[in-house]
Amino acid sequence: MTALPLLDYTLRLADNALILGHRLSEWVGHAPVLEEELALGNMALDLIGEARVLYAYAGNVEGKGRDEDALAYLRDVPEFRNTLLVEQPNGDFALTIVRQLLYAAFSCPFWRELSASRDATLAAIAAKAAKEAAYHLRHSAEWLIRLGDGTAESHRRAQTALDQLWPYSGELFEVDPIEETLVARGIAVDPRSLRCEWDHTVDGCLAQATLDRPTDRWMQTGGRLGRHSEHLGHVLATMQFLQRAYPGATW
């Protein structure tokens, strides 16, 4: 952890956006239908855009001259602070949609609440991200409903995906001292306050999708502390390759 809570907090948000955006971008050329190719790419672009402004702000807050690329391309796994959910592999389309729904059902109210942050920069970023997240939520919810209430096979895949990713949902609502400090200062949003709305959104969607909500058992954790799944290493190895292979070069 750094000495600056605001830096850590901003990096978490930036890392979430980058890793999820990167994962979605992996669908290029592989989507089930051309229209969806564009939809997934558009969501990826939204997220990468969010990541960029957040990294830029984080670099400012840190004040050591690190720009968006230094933060995205030159940190190793233990320094990344994204939630484990976003680094999970795309799997099949059902897994990607479930991952997106669980995340967007959180990020939508999150950005909305953060638009009232006392930190003007975060508030502005949040206001824009809220609109994007609203679309991501609608898109993934509509798809999950169709997959759940489509064919027997799509239902099976959707339920499997839900069961597989459910243990990553708890981490979204964790709070640590950094967050508590910033919440007290009116800068951050207490994720626990979003739990009710998240449950309502997710339950509503699952009901229409004729899917069963998995039981809350043990939840995965560790992202904030840089304790990631094995997947993040491979993501970064791919993403950061050129910067690492040609240190100091301008691209």
């Binding site: 050329g29 969806e36 968006e68 690329d69 169709r146 390759f241 040609y246 070069a249």
Partner: protein, 340 residues
């Protein structure tokens, strides 16, 4: 049988090509007057719209051209898509992703335009995946380094723009309108590619070598994008007469060379053509012989990446079948309950 039913059936037989199996036969059977009237509209620069009468050969040619163009955009997403996850900066990552998305969108506009002529997206997809449809041969080459992304933007998009701008004046309305929309969105693609090349050419010695290597590999395939030499092209005459194509292959290729060579020299790069020389009198860059054997090979399915590209498209299509079925099933269920 009622006259209207008879006419209906006859028309279906006519448009399904059962009255003639190839374009030229059908032209012979089409009423002289209609053909003359149609040609007069073309000569007067009128746009032909989906519900207008058109010679069968015109319709067939357009379906072939537009669907090939659409397939090219879709397959073209693959060599560039190959580098999205490895793009070396966030700005490049976002720009490349946006470019590839644009290409997907362009493919969509073009499939939509082709569908106005009576072919369905399913049929076109099937033709592509079965290897029966052609697409631009350039996309059968691999992207081996980040510099290839620069080269593709600079050269391939540059060549595509040369082809596309005249198509904005194509006689067929939906195609012309799709092309106008596409050209508006293309403007940043080529600039982005050139800018990548510029950055590399001003970079480390490794980056400069990367840029030179990319030009060495992409130059000749880019020239081949304009198609066979005018003497050899079988489709040109009607295409020019019906204002589907507005310039010949060789004309466009020369325009491209003249525009691009100075750009490459500005980058400090050397073109892989010992015969490249400026003809002062004519005001053109003369270039060496194109290896048409390579072009024919790649067109016939024997390029470095043909099979791989098709395999990726096939997998995406097959792996996604359950998703499409689910969407349709859901739609059917809703229709059923709405009707009840």
């Amino acid at each position: 049988m009622e006259l209207s039913v008879f006419c209906d059936i006859l028309m279906r037989m006519y448009t399904q090509g059962l009255l003639g199996s190839n374009g030229t036969d059908l032209v012979g059977q089409e009423p002289e007057e209609r053909l003359r009237h149609f040609q007069a509209r073309i000569d007067a620069e009128e746009k032909i719209e989906p519900n207008d009468w058109m010679p069968e050969a015109y319709r067939r040619t357009l379906i072939r051209m537009i669907s090939q163009h659409a397939h090219s955009e879709i397959v073209g997403m693959l060599p560039e898509g190959n580098w999205i996850t490895r793009a070396p900066t966030l700005r490049r990552k976002a720009a490349l992703l946006a470019k590839v998305q644009d290409e997907g969108g362009h493919g969509l506009y073009l499939y939509a335009a082709a569908e106005t002529l009576g072919i369905s997206r399913e049929e076109m997809t099937e033709q592509l995946l079965a290897g029966k449809a052609k697409y631009s041969s350039i996309f059968n080459y691999p992207t081996l380094t980040w510099a290839d992304i620069g080269a593709i933007g600079w050269l391939v998009d540059g060549a595509a723009i040369m082809n596309q701008i005249p198509l904005c004046r194509c006689s067929y309305g939906p195609y012309a309108r799709a092309m106008i929309r596409i050209c508006k969105e293309e403007s940043f693609h080529q600039r982005q590619g050139y800018e990548i090349m510029l950055t590399l050419s001003r970079g480390t010695s490794e980056q400069r070598a990367m840029a030179q290597d990319a030009l060495d590999r992409w130059w000749w395939p880019s020239l081949m994008m304009f198609g066979p030499s005018d003497k050899e092209s079988q489709h040109s005459d009607n295409s020019l007469r019906w204002k589907i194509k507005r310039f010949s292959n060789d004309e466009l290729r020369q325009k491209f060379v003249d525009a691009t060579v100075p750009q490459g020299h500005h980058l400090g790069l050397v073109f892989p053509d010992p015969d490249l020389a400026y003809d002062v009198t004519a005001g053109h860059w003369r270039f060496g012989p194109i290896d048409w054997a390579e072009f024919r090979d790649v067109l016939a399915g024997n390029g470095p990446c043909n099979r791989q590209r098709m395999q990726q498209r096939r997998s995406a299509h097959e792996d996604g079948a359950w998703v499409r079925e689910a969407a349709i099933a859901y739609g059917e269920k809703r229709k059923g309950s709405a009707a009840a």
